[in-house]
């Protein structure tokens, strides 16, 4: 029976003739040693994503002023291992609900997220400002870094368009979820 062994990343194929003559219809058997890792274009390993600070607050005191800036920018950070410099990562943001919890009159859409900076990898770029919704919206993209433990971060600014239609409350909250896709 012929034995075909695939070694390492070179995709070299060795055939070993173990019998004088093998009939053409006989199937080959493939053996891959367990200590050999094939350099296939596998998925990029992602660390957990951190968002700092964990809470961003707005104080809406006068709707006639228009927009209110968040208390600080948000920095979204993560790391990759096994990335491919030719692969593109994306960062998307989505809101957990169509309106703030405890404040049904304050919808999600008046909150605008604006990417102001991207670091890590290469060719990082911000998308345009997005009005938050429950659907994921891409806000930044870039190319991955090769190698292990490569850090990336995206800085986001948030603004809230105030309105007289919002009923006053100090307990309005909304959870945002960031998703990184890295092939």
């Amino acid at each position: 029976m012929p034995v075909v062994v695939i070694l390492g990343g070179t995709m070299q194929i060795y055939a070993q003739k173990v019998s004088p003559v093998s009939p053409p219809q006989q199937q080959s058997r493939v053996v891959v040693p367990s200590n050999i890792v094939l350099p296939m274009a596998g998925p990029t390993a992602l660390s957990a994503i951190s968002a700092s600070p964990s809470t961003i607050s707005f104080t809406a005191t006068d709707p006639d002023l228009g927009s209110v800036a968040g208390s600080s920018a948000a920095t979204i950070s993560w790391m990759t291992s096994g990335g491919n410099k030719n692969s593109t990562w994306t960062l998307a943001v989505r809101a957990s609900a169509a309106s703030f919890t405890n404040c049904a009159t304050v919808p999600t859409s008046p909150v605008k997220a604006t990417c102001t900076g991207v670091s890590g990898g290469s060719s990082g770029s911000c998308g345009g400002p997005v009005s938050l919704s429950t659907g994921a919206q891409q806000i930044a993209t870039g190319k991955e870094s090769n190698g292990a433990n490569k850090a990336y971060s995206v800085t986001l600014n948030f603004t809230l368009t105030d309105s007289w239609s919002y009923i006053a409350s100090s307990a309005c909250t909304l959870s945002l979820t960031y998703t990184v896709n890295a092939p």
């Binding site: 695939i6 194929i13 809470t55 009159t105 007289w164 309005c172």
Partner: protein, 182 residues
């Protein structure tokens, strides 16, 4: 040699089978931020009729009447909030020998008003006598009230006694409207 070529052929097939799984599903991870908003109680008022002329129409010595239009904006606190619009005569009629809110020339002479207001306001329910001493109610708001972003309409229609003792001439007074919300 035939057999050797065949082995290569099988080898290529094997390689293909191993390469195929390279189209892995993407890995994704998520993080979260909490947005917190404090929406403060707030109110604003615009007197859209900056000068209201009181005129006597119809029968002789009918009261002088005129309407002042307002646009209000308001949001009150959920469950516990309130709001109100008031007016006060902050400058009595002048010059002298005409009508007066503070010291009516004749007992019973008065500057009164009625109110209209669109929801969420509740306008004053009956004719109210304006005062120079204290503010009087034009409209009230309950908890969790909010106006349109462009504001909502309200008005006061004033009536001033047409007293024959008034000397002929033109008299003016200043009425100040105030809105508040909690």
């Amino acid at each position: 040699m035939f057999g050797r070529r065949d082995y290569y052929c099988h080898g290529l097939l094997a390689a293909t089978l191993f390469i195929a799984p390279a189209t892995y599903a993407q890995f994704a991870a998520t993080g979260t931020t909490t947005l917190s908003v404090t929406v403060s109680a707030e109110a604003a008022l615009s007197v859209t009729t900056s000068t209201t002329t009181l005129a006597a129409l119809g029968t002789i010595f009918n009261p002088y009447t005129g309407t002042t239009n307002l646009t209000y904006k308001i949001r009150t606190t959920q469950s516990t909030g309130t709001g109100n619009v008031t007016l006060k005569v902050t400058s009595d009629f002048s010059p002298a020998n005409g009508p007066s809110v503070t010291i009516p020339p004749t007992a019973g002479d008065a500057l009164t008003y009625t109110c209209t207001a669109t929801a969420p306001a509740t306008g004053c329910s009956s004719a109210t006598t304006a005062s120079t001493a204290s503010a009087t109610s034009v409209a009230t708001f309950g908890a969790g009230a909010s106006s349109a972003n462009a504001g909502n309409a309200a008005s006061t229609t004033r009536s001033l006694t047409n007293d024959p003792v008034y000397h002929t001439g033109s008299y003016s007074a200043t009425v100040t409207y105030t809105i508040s919300a909690t």
